[in-house]
């Protein structure tokens, strides 16, 4: 499968502050890639490098095989961009703004624009300074999608949108993927990504920590299992299973609580040969996984 985005060792420093360090990223054509991390992790820096707003301190990158620095013009004609900190010309109406940007692209986007505006219930004939935050965001969304780009780079796209519009937006992304187009979706807000992303990259303190599919991340989930036995058991037999930690043993050795990383299969197997009464599983949800990545301890090396 060909690559939509590929970077190798992409690095940006501001003075001695790291923006993003040694980023190796590969996004396939046709996938929705979630790029998540806390505020200040380097998400926006990465995007601004991809669009040639910033010059890399080291490393390189390409979009559709085109160099992000040298071929930026060709890249930008195939990309739709929605910035996280959206800036629009306040004295223009929505229609004027979108007309201006379609003229800059040199293409007629009128029909798509109208369709999108209708879909997002956006009144195009009011001045941007009169719009609410949500309506301004919709102008940004229409601007990113109106020329039907092959790659969408979206920086926290649903900020300011109400739940209905967020739902609509998620459907739009699903359609885009169905058409074989690519989405690079940056966010610090997990549900925004969880709803649509195929794969997710987690970035923290300027470094990409992990990339996996959502189900991959789920399989890394730490779950807690509580097993009630009819007779006392020896906890050591469970503790020897890989990825299992015994939390405690109660009720005279009949109530066992375990913490399990990954699959519960081996534990269930071990337990089923005994006198099991009940099994209760509490699965940590995805949120907790990501929170663990975001890290309570900010000083540990994120790559380690």
């Amino acid at each position: 499968m060909s690559r939509a985005i590929e970077t190798s060792g992409l690095t940006k420093y501001y003075g001695d502050t790291a923006g993003i360090v040694d980023l190796d990223l590969a996004v396939d054509v046709g996938e929705v890639f979630g790029f998540i991390g806390p505020n200040g992790a380097g998400k926006t820096t990465t995007i601004r490098l991809l669009l040639n707003f910033l010059k890399p301190s080291a490393g390189s990158g390409s979009i559709f095989g085109l160099d992000i620095e040298g071929d930026s013009l060709a890249i930008r004609s195939r990309v739709g961009y929605l910035p996280g900190d959206l800036a629009l010309y306040p004295s223009m109406t929505g229609r004027e703004f979108l007309l201006y940007f379609s003229r800059l692209r040199g293409i007629d986007t009128a029909s798509v624009t109208l369709r999108l505006a209708e879909r997002f219930e956006l009144d195009l004939d009011r001045r941007i300074k009169e719009y609410s935050k949500g309506n301004r965001q919709k102008v940004g969304v229409v601007n990113a999608f109106m020329h039907e780009p092959e790659l969408l780079i979206l920086d926290e796209p649903t900020g300011g949108l109400d739940p209905l519009m967020q739902q609509e937006f998620a459907e739009l992304l699903t359609e885009v993927r169905a058409e074989g187009r690519t989405v690079f979706l940056s966010s610090h807000y997990l549900p925004e990504v969880e709803r649509v992303a195929d794969r997710v990259g987690i970035v923290r303190q300027g470094r990409l920590i992990d990339v996996d599919t959502l189900s991959g991340f789920r399989s890394k989930v730490q779950s807690n299992l509580t097993i009630k036995f009819g007779s006392p058991v020896d906890p050591a037999q469970f503790a020897s299973i890989e990825g299992v930690t015994v939390i405690d043993l109660l009720d005279g050795g009949t109530l066992l609580r375990l913490s399990i990383a990954g699959s519960q299969r081996a534990v269930i197997g071990e337990a089923s040969s005994r006198d099991v009464i009940t099994v209760t599983s509490e699965e940590a949800d995805l949120d907790e996984v990501f929170l663990s990545y975001y890290g309570s301890d900010a000083h540990t090396d994120p790559a380690g």
Binding site: Y13, Y14, G15, D16, R48, L51, N52, F53, L54, K55, L73, A74, R76, S77, V79, G80, Y81, P83, D85, L86, A87, L88, Y89, Y100, F101, R103, L104, R105, G106, N143
Partner: protein
């Protein structure tokens, strides 16, 4: 078809072009009238022929040509007012189109479309240059129309050449703004650098005849290229070529820098170690001044702290220069007095001096710039701008919602801000006053410290009066009401009312309502002590401030 970005730039500038254009047309008509009045005066004509030439150059007057319309206009219109208008326009336009858009994130938006940085930059620069061309064309056409009406006998090619030279000067300083802006990435710095450079160039070019040390730099000043020899009489020459070449060079340099820099990050072109050092320095500074960040009063002073230095420094420097030039003026005092009595009073009235004879005294001479013409204009601009930034703009940006969400009464927030502006104005006045005291001592003009203090107080109160006016208009009219523009018009009108009121009986009675009458009337501020009418200025400022605060307490906050 007009390229999109260039077209947008022109459209953005439309209103400014119209505003500046109207002003500049009114000014040229006024100067045309002035000139005809002057020409009728036989005393004046005779006198001018016998006057030492060096003396007049301090007023931007070339005695050889002053009696012709071309000479008159090149001294008043083309060396002073027209460049002021055009440069203010272009510097503002260039800083807004590129640097302010970058700061706001609009350039990110623009450059996410498939247009090259070079194209964006050149179209924006071209748009600014074209808008300036329209502005200059308005002036040129106005002069060509006025020419036969007032029988000025200007040559058409001369007017066109002067227009061209003015436009090139404008483009050059637009380009300088862009160079400073692309280098630092900050619109405030860009405007400040270009504005200061323009002032310096004007100063060097204008005062080099009087002030020998300046002569070495005279040739390097764009103002010298612009006007020596003056295109209105001598047509286009090498100077205009210099302007064009330098402007083109600066634009090329700015374009190259813009192509390779990071967008929306400060000091993008400096090496990394230097950025770190600056960042550390900045951190230190913010800690040192952090005591200012308590309450809206101190916060307002914190916001204005750089402006205080900038405006105070400029005005203090001007004051010192006026004192330093005085001794050479005094040598020719008699000739000067002759000039004054023969020159039509209308000319002086226009510059705020209703008693021209006073200019032959040091008090009158220093007052003429620092306390009567440029000084009041700049102080009023400083105060009105302060009110605009601290309140009008904050409200329309929505920052007021946040400031008012704290558990403090609206009255106290707004009063704190108003007092902050007043206090920072006081600081500027202190700087001017210190400069005047130093100048008075160094050049032995013997003006008396109490007069200098009183003149400073009057100047400050005049500024506060117009600040109060802006505040009241804003509080009554709401965020979208053009409070600043209305204040500017009222200030201009009352300034002229005071000057012209001294000449016309019809206006004489109306004159008493002008704050400028309360401030200087017919006597230079330095020639008198603290006047009772200064209390009128103070009372006016306080009443308008009070009206503003109580009205603001009851109205809706706009977003």
């Amino acid at each position: 078809m007009i390229p999109a970005i260039l077209g947008k730039t022109l459209r953005d500038r439309q209103r400014a072009v119209m505003g500046f254009g109207l002003g500049i047309v009114a000014l040229s008509v006024w100067l045309g009238v002035m000139f005809t009045v002057m020409r009728e005066s036989d005393d004046f004509t005779e006198f001018m022929n016998n006057l030492p030439a060096g003396l007049l150059s301090a007023f931007g007057i070339d005695s050889a040509t002053f009696l012709s319309a071309a000479g008159f206009l090149s001294s008043y219109l083309f060396t002073l007012f027209a460049p002021l208008f055009v440069l203010f326009f272009v510097i503002n336009a260039a800083a807004n189109e590129v640097m302010a858009e970058e700061r706001d994130g609009l350039l990110d938006m623009l450059l996410s479309s498939p247009v090259s940085r070079t194209r964006v930059f050149l179209e924006k620069t071209g748009g600014v240059a074209l808008a300036a061309l329209v502005l200059v064309a308005v002036l040129t056409v106005a002069l060509l129309v006025v020419n036969p009406i007032f029988d000025l006998s200007l040559s058409v090619t001369g007017v066109l050449a002067a227009g061209l030279s003015l436009w090139l000067l404008g483009v050059l300083f637009a380009a300088l703004t862009l160079v400073a802006g692309t280098f630092t990435g900050r619109s405030v710095v860009a405007g400040g650098v270009a504005g200061s450079a323009a002032f310096l160039a004007w100063f060097v070019s204008g005062f080099s005849d009087l002030y020998a040390p300046l002569e070495t730099f005279d040739k390097a000043s764009p103002f010298t290229w612009y006007q020596e020899p003056h295109p209105l009489t001598d047509g286009v020459g090498a100077g205009q070529v210099w302007l064009a070449v330098t402007a083109a060079g600066l634009i090329a340099a700015a374009t190259l820098m813009f192509r390779r820099r990071d967008l929306s990050t400060e000091r993008a072109l400096l090496p990394a170690t230097r950025i770190t050092r600056l960042a550390r320095k900045r951190k230190g500074r913010s800690v040192r001044a952090a005591w200012l960040l308590t309450g809206s009063f101190r916060k307002t002073i914190w916001d204005r702290r750089r402006s205080v230095w900038g405006w105070g420094g400029g005005l203090g420097l001007l004051t010192l220069v006026m004192f330093s030039v005085w001794p050479s003026m005094a040598e020719d005092a008699e000739a000067l007095a002759g000039l004054i009595t023969s020159l039509p009073r209308e000319v002086f009235a226009m510059f705020g001096m209703s008693d021209p004879a006073a200019i032959v005294t040091p008090a009158g001479f220093v007052s003429s710039r620092t306390y009567q013409a440029i000084g009041p204009i700049l102080i009023i601009m400083f105060v009105v701008r302060g009110v605009s930034m601290a309140m009008v703009k904050e409200e329309s940006d929505g920052a007021f919602d946040l400031a008012l969400s704290i558990p403090a009464s609206r009255k106290s927030v707004i009063a704190g801000k108003a007092l902050g502006v007043a206090f920072s104005t006081g600081l500027v006045i202190v700087i001017i006053t210190v400069a005047a005291l130093v100048g008075n001592f160094a050049w032995e003009t013997e003006l008396g410290a109490e007069r200098i203090l009183a003149a400073g107080a009057g100047l400050g109160l005049l500024g506060l009066f117009f600040g109060g006016l802006t505040l009241a208009i804003w509080a009554l009219g709401g965020a979208s009401f053009p409070a600043v523009r209305i204040t500017a018009v009222l200030a201009m009108a009352t300034f002229l009312l005071n000057g012209l009121g001294s000449l016309s009986e019809a206006l004489e009675t109306a004159r008493v309502i002008s704050p400028f009458y309360w401030y200087f009337g017919d006597t230079p501020p330095l020639a008198k002590g603290f006047e009772p009418t200064y209390f009128l200025l103070l009372a006016g400022a306080l009443v308008m401030g009070w009206v503003a605060i109580s009205r603001f307490d009851r109205r809706d906050i706009a977003t």
